[in-house]
């Protein structure tokens, strides 16, 4: 293997490693399920790598990859109209650019982790864990937390609102 080939491979690997999580999360945000996002991430990077990738700034690269991914997603959806609907793409792009930044949601996830640790009570964390990790029903959450079923919805809604406010404050928004 020549030095140029090695360098090229390292460059490709660095591109994929740096941006694949962000592209995947973006596609999930637009409405893809996990398997569809897996496929589209692979197709996006293959298209970019085969077309001859040029190193740009991280922000430009992330934005370019998102555009390629979005176009491939739209092309797929045109072929298969039975798939679930996507979100409003224009609004989604605006929100993603404002909230997720160029690191593919990395800072957002770190801020959310800190807010969960510091701002959420054990009871709220438990309720959120039951909902998002265990996919428990409201009845089960109510039983585990010894509360009325009607109260679970309110507890979770307030918890999400407080977390969103905490995360966005930490991110300076």
């Amino acid at each position: 293997m020549t030095a140029a080939t090695t360098d090229r491979r390292a460059e490709m690997a660095a591109l994929v490693r740096t941006h694949q999580a962000g592209v995947w999360r973006y596609l999930r945000f637009l409405g893809c399920d996990a398997a569809e996002a897996d496929d589209l991430v692979q197709e996006t990077f293959l298209a970019v790598l085969r077309d001859g990738f040029e190193v740009r700034s991280p922000a430009e690269t992330a934005s370019y990859l998102r555009t390629v991914a979005r176009n491939r997603l739209l092309a797929d959806r045109r072929k298969d109209r039975n798939r679930p609907a996507l979100v409003d793409l224009e609004a989604a792009e605006t929100v993603w650019a404002q909230v997720a930044g160029d690191d593919g949601l990395g800072d957002y996830l770190a801020a959310l982790g800190e807010c969960l640790d510091r701002a959420a009570t054990p009871r709220v964390r438990r309720a959120l864990t039951l909902q998002y990790a265990d996919r428990a029903s409201r009845e089960r959450i109510a039983a585990e937390l010894d509360m009325a079923v009607e109260g679970v919805k309110t507890l979770l809604r307030r918890a999400r609102a407080a977390l969103r406010e905490c995360v966005e404050r930490r991110l300076g928004q």
């Binding site: 999580a21 945000f29 897996d38 979100v87 609004a91 929100v95 990395g106 770190a110 964390r125 864990t129």
Partner: protein, 647 residues
């Protein structure tokens, strides 16, 4: 409309939060597709998979028509000769693709955990039997097969490296009334086992399962000390769930808790491996994210330095006040992997920086982050451990964080952290980094007692035999207990330590190792299986006490140990009467024995573990116990699949 007030934006921000919650709480994050993408990018042809399949089908149809005619036609015959193997090859490729797709679907069942990109491949490859260089009792550890060399095969060879674990046997009290061991607060084995089960969808090798580290991974609600003593002890005994005729004794310690505000000033040196082997998504990027979490906890009177080691060691950031958080984060963010590893030189530089910035009465600690691939320089394990031991005596302790798979030198990292008066954790996800470096930062950084040793004296009037579950590489000679020169484990602020003994009451059948009769002593020799003496037959002095736990520890800066003593009386409680923490710890121990295929697992099954652990899950605010249940479900599935394939 002002975008700030656009209701669509508000909904989308809620959506983003829910997506992030699913990733943080359930691990529903992106898979690592690097290898797949790079492999596909290097293929010369660029026909999409669906198109290839269509081409194959057209060829097959054409062959059905052409084959009869080709019998009379030499040219066509030659074509058939050429095309048939190609078609078979294509069919074989399609079959393999189908199997791969199936394996990916199996892997996809584990969506709750971030994938490492390693898929659970069907057993089409010739399995490699792991060979040891020494004899192993087949009853103690089962052989295992691997696809590749990722489990490691000994010194100087690639792959993960684990020390062999030989389980503690039952010991007769009349021959061995004392059981002595050092505490162990490491949790690396649990996180590593979790990665095997949930991340890679396969059973861990038995030697990767250290049961005490699995038990000690969890928080238990033990009360802390109420006086000046740094430790509180909590003893309990109840029925043994996997051997109803036996008793299960729990010895638990709880370290004094420091409120965050009272945490002593810290002088930390991050010693980071940036060698080529760290250039994997689950290594350097995770390392950087984890250390950023820790850096964000630093205060004005804390200090952080960053030393990296690869081809040559280097000081990336001189010792810097925690107030300069942005500078620390920026330096961490700029790290790149490359070069081979000179771990020894890096450690020397890190210790020198720590010594130069020593904080009296503070926390002085080197935090080594590596996959353990110390492959360049004068870095024999013996030399490194000697150096680490020397520096620990001078007050600079060492913690080790392990990352990644493929080169993981589990054995060396555990040894170094033991000798360096530190702890060893394995970081497989950002959630684990958060647990070790944020939630349990006090326990990870602030040592409240060192050289903590436990010696249990069993009452022969009540106990015929006993077995300590786990702690195999922490066993001490009975003489070591009072020997203050003998090194032992450290306990951090708020740490909990739990040890379980399976106890055979007098009168029950005892299985202890066979010993030849003594030629010059009148005492009767123990048989391989024997009836233990009845309570009346033994005229031992004591009392109702089942046992006495003796504890020795040193203050962090002291050289002389202090001694505590706690007796335990058995009131005959059943397992169901034990509290949730006791039951949960027992369920983890049973799961560990099943994963090791222990000869001592008795009637334990994965279903029984699930029943016990589900009933004892309790509040579980961080979801760690729920995750354990997922692991047990997965282990049950994998063990069942493994048994079927062996049939």
């Amino acid at each position: 409309m002002n975008p700030e007030n656009d209701p669509r934006h508000d909904e989308l921000r809620d959506r983003l939060l829910e997506q992030a919650l699913a990733e943080v709480l359930a691990g529903a994050g992106p898979p690592d597709l690097t290898d797949k993408i790079l492999a596909a990018a290097e293929q010369p042809e660029s026909i999409p998979v669906q198109q290839k399949e269509r081409v194959m089908k057209k060829r097959s149809r054409w062959l059905k028509i052409a084959l009869p005619a080709s019998a009379a036609c030499l040219v066509l015959g030659v074509m058939v000769c050429l095309l048939l193997p190609a078609t078979q090859s294509a069919r074989e490729a399609a079959r393999r693709a189908s199997m791969r797709s199936k394996s990916e679907r199996i892997h996809g069942l584990y969506d709750g955990y971030p994938s490492t990109g390693l898929s659970f491949e069907p057993r089409t490859a010739e399995p490699i039997r792991v060979d040891y260089d020494f004899d192993i009792d087949e009853d103690i550890t089962r052989p295992f097969v691997v696809f590749g060399n990722e489990y490691g095969r000994g010194p100087g060879r690639g792959g993960d490296k684990y020390d062999m674990v030989v389980e503690n046997p039952f010991r007769a009290v009349k021959d061995h009334p004392l059981s002595t061991f050092s505490i162990d607060v490491d949790t690396a084995s649990y996180a590593n086992v979790r990665r095997f089960l949930l991340g890679e969808g396969r059973l861990p090798p038995p030697d990767a399962v250290r049961i005490e580290e699995m038990i000690n991974y969890f928080d238990y609600d033990y009360a802390g000390p109420t006086d000046a003593t740094p430790l509180a002890a909590h003893l309990a005994v109840a029925g043994c769930p996997w051997r109803p005729e036996h008793r299960l004794v729990r010895v638990a310690l709880k370290g004094k808790v420091f409120p965050q505000k009272e945490r002593p000033a810290s002088n930390l040196v991050f010693l980071l491996d940036v060698s080529g082997s760290m250039d994997m998504p689950d290594k350097l990027p995770l390392l950087k994210a984890g250390m950023k979490l820790l850096a964000r906890q630093m205060r004005e009177n804390d200090r952080v330095a960053i030393v990296v080691y690869a081809g040559a060691e280097g000081l990336v950031l001189p010792s810097t006040s925690g107030a300069n958080r942005e500078e620390i984060l920026e330096k961490l963010g700029s790290l790149q992997a490359g070069g081979s590893t000179n771990g020894g030189a890096g450690i020397e530089l890190a210790y020198r920086i720590a010594q130069e910035n020593f904080i009296t009465d503070g926390v002085n600690r080197v935090i080594l982050c590596t996959d353990g691939d110390f492959n360049v320089g004068t870095t024999s394990t013996a030399e490194l451990t000697r150096m680490v031991e020397d520096r620990a005596r001078s007050g600079v302790f060492l913690s080790v964080l392990g990352f990644g798979r493929g080169n993981l030198n589990d054995a060396m990292m555990e040894t170094l952290s033991n000798k360096g008066n530190g702890n060893y954790a394995y970081i497989d996800t950002i959630n684990e980094a958060r647990k070790v470096l944020v939630r349990q930062m006090g326990a990870t950084l602030v040592t409240i007692a060192k050289d903590v040793k436990i010696q249990v004296e069993f009452n022969p009037a009540r106990v015929a035999a006993y077995r300590l579950i786990g702690y195999e590489n922490r066993m001490l000679a009975k003489e070591d207990f009072n020997d203050d020169k003998k090194d032992a484990g450290e306990i951090g602020a708020g740490h909990t330590v739990t040890a379980l003994y399976e106890v055979v009451p007098v009168g029950a059948t005892v299985e202890t190792p066979s010993v030849d009769p003594l030629k010059y002593q009148p005492a009767a020799a123990p048989g391989e299986t024997q009836e233990s003496p009845s309570p009346a037959a033994d005229a031992s002095p004591a009392t109702d006490e089942l046992l006495t736990v003796k504890l020795r520890y040193k203050e962090p800066n002291a050289d002389v140990s202090k001694r505590l003593e706690f007796p335990l009386v058995d009131r005959g409680a059943s397992f169901g009467q034990a509290n949730h923490d006791f039951q949960f710890a027992a369920s983890v121990a049973a799961a560990g024995m099943l994963l090791r295929n222990s000869r001592y697992k008795g009637t334990a099954t994965y279903d029984a573990v699930l029943e016990m652990a589900t009933a004892a899950k309790g509040a579980d605010p961080h979801g760690y116990r729920a995750e354990f249940l997922k692991m047990v479900h997965r282990a049950k599935d994998l063990a069942g699949r493994s048994e079927k394939s062996e049939e």
